[in-house]
């Protein structure tokens, strides 16, 4: 990519030089809007350099329902893999955060809207088992439109599966911190991401069960501009704190220190 290229901020519309945007962790230097960031880059800026050891990197989704809408599910998967260079909507593994060992999962909205199917569910389960086995805190960055429709009822069951898995971690008195990033909705917001000791949200992240379009349709009237946003959730008591991307690593380390007594 040409580094002198300009990028228009999605929120304030100001032009940002690509180089500045990258240096600023994909946060607009003018208005502080947090833009999409892929899961690999997220890991780079969150965990100690070279500490990440990926788990289940070769786990793949299968089109067990032979689901076909305008495209086949298998084709959508192939396209998502090609587009993102990822194998699925979450990447999981062990890493260090300021020296603390953690079991960390990071979702990527770029892979089929971060939707949760069997692989996302199984990877989270394995991550939870690792957290328990090594007695290390669990951290999951969520970013998802919800359950993956192409896996039908099995995707709904991943909600139960992941809640059970993170519940086992918490029952062992191991800290679990959920980080909500834009957007976290539907089957992910109503499962593992809201079952945590601490819930952190990134500024401006959409965090709701039903999205604004659906709610507007149901209510048949306009809804507030800040519907479902992190700040409104904070005011409503649904998250512990809002933490900007640049402060995330330090905050996670501090929380682990506090929770570990």
């Amino acid at each position: 990519m040409d580094k002198s290229q300009k990028h228009k901020c999605e929120a304030c519309g100001k032009d940002i030089e690509q180089e500045v945007l990258i240096k600023n962790l994909n946060v607009c230097p003018y208005c502080g809007h947090h833009e999409y960031i892929g899961c690999r880059r997220r890991l780079d800026i969150t965990v100690d350099e070279g500490s990440f050891k990926e788990m289940d990197s070769d786990m793949r989704s299968v089109d067990f329902l032979k689901f076909r809408d305008l495209k086949k599910y298998s084709q959508r998967l192939e396209e998502a893999r090609e587009k993102t260079g990822l194998s699925e909507a979450i990447i999981t593994g062990e890493a260090g955060i300021e020296g603390y060992g953690v079991a960390i999962g990071v979702m990527d909205f770029g892979f089929m809207g971060g939707s949760m199917g069997s692989v996302v569910g199984e990877k989270i389960k394995n991550l939870c088992n690792r957290s328990i086995k090594n007695d290390i805190p669990l951290i999951i960055f969520s970013s998802s439109g919800g359950a993956r429709m192409q896996e039908g009822i099995i995707s709904l069951m991943q909600m139960a599966k992941t809640v059970s898995s993170v519940g086992r971690v918490m029952a062992c008195n191991i800290p679990y911190i959920s980080v909500i990033t834009n957007p976290t909705t539907g089957g992910v917001s109503a499962s593992f991401s809201t079952i945590a000791d601490i819930i952190i949200a990134e500024p401006g992240a959409l965090f709701c069960f039903a999205g604004p379009r659906v709610v507007r349709q149901t209510m048949k009237k306009d809804i507030p501009d800040d519907f479902g946003l992190a700040e409104r959730n904070l005011a409503n008591g649904q998250v512990d704190m809002i933490v900007s991307r640049s402060d995330m690593k330090e905050t996670l380390a501090r929380l682990i220190r506090l929770l570990r007594g």
Binding site: D58, I153, A160, V163, A190, S191, F209
Partner: protein, 324 residues
Amino acid sequence: MDLKKIEKVSKIYLKELISSFAKIDKLKKLRFFSGIHFKDALSQFNKRIEKYSRATRESNKVWNKVELSRSGERPQCRDYIKGIFEDFTELSGDRLTGDDSSIVAGLGRIGGRTVAVVGHNKGRNTNERIKHNFGMGIPQGYRKSCRIMKLADKFGFPVITFIDTPGAYAGLEAEDNGQSAAISGSIRLMFELNVPVISVLIGEGGSGGALALAVGDEVAMLENSTYSVISPEACSAILWKDSTGKKLAARALRITSKDLLKLGAIERVIHEPIGGAQKDPGRMIKIVKKYINDALGRLGKYQPEQLRLKRAEKFENIGFFTYG
């Protein structure tokens, strides 16, 4: 080419068929295009029509089930409660902010023992439906349910849930009050129960709002009930970008009791009287009562700790994936 067959194909497929028909038509006009290739293309086209009309027929069948599962004529949660449990006593409120009349909760007796009962109630006529918010739960409802389930856990009462909801309510207040956390909290609590949990889908099993009450040791579906991650209408609007695809979506999502049993997402299908539960509600309720009694017997063999472990293991083992 059989044009009558095309007429019966779902609108969604028509565009594709028409465009490939136009291509074949063009081929026909090419001077150097050999007859063999043309025949090939034509026979493939006919095969596609055949495939699409079969898909359309199947979709229509599934759609009939969807309509039946939503029918107001079917027995509802309150009918089952009245017909199955003695001394049923309804309990209200989440002790935090209010009550939700779309979710019924209380204690009752069956086979000489006390059980806790929780379920969605849609309501039958317009007034009832408005009162019960069409069976769409709000956080107060899921939190009330949690409160009653905790009560059951404390006294060692089994928990019976009836599921019949289009989904959790998608409203501003519900969101502001933490709809997501209310649902995930209900799912989590059900995993923590040390008592037998039996879940019966009696009509429409809509998404997270249904799952919130369906984390059972045994999950059973009435033959004509449905259970889906998203409503066929919403799925069609998102994936087909067209609401006329709802029937195709209903088929693709595999939402019938038979499908779910095959996929291992539920334990049992409860057969309905011929023509459906609405034809003979009294008999339907008796069949469900027998099922609950039998299930209580089956689950009664397990120690509390065993129940919890088995429940977690069962749900945590659901999923299809591969390596490599």
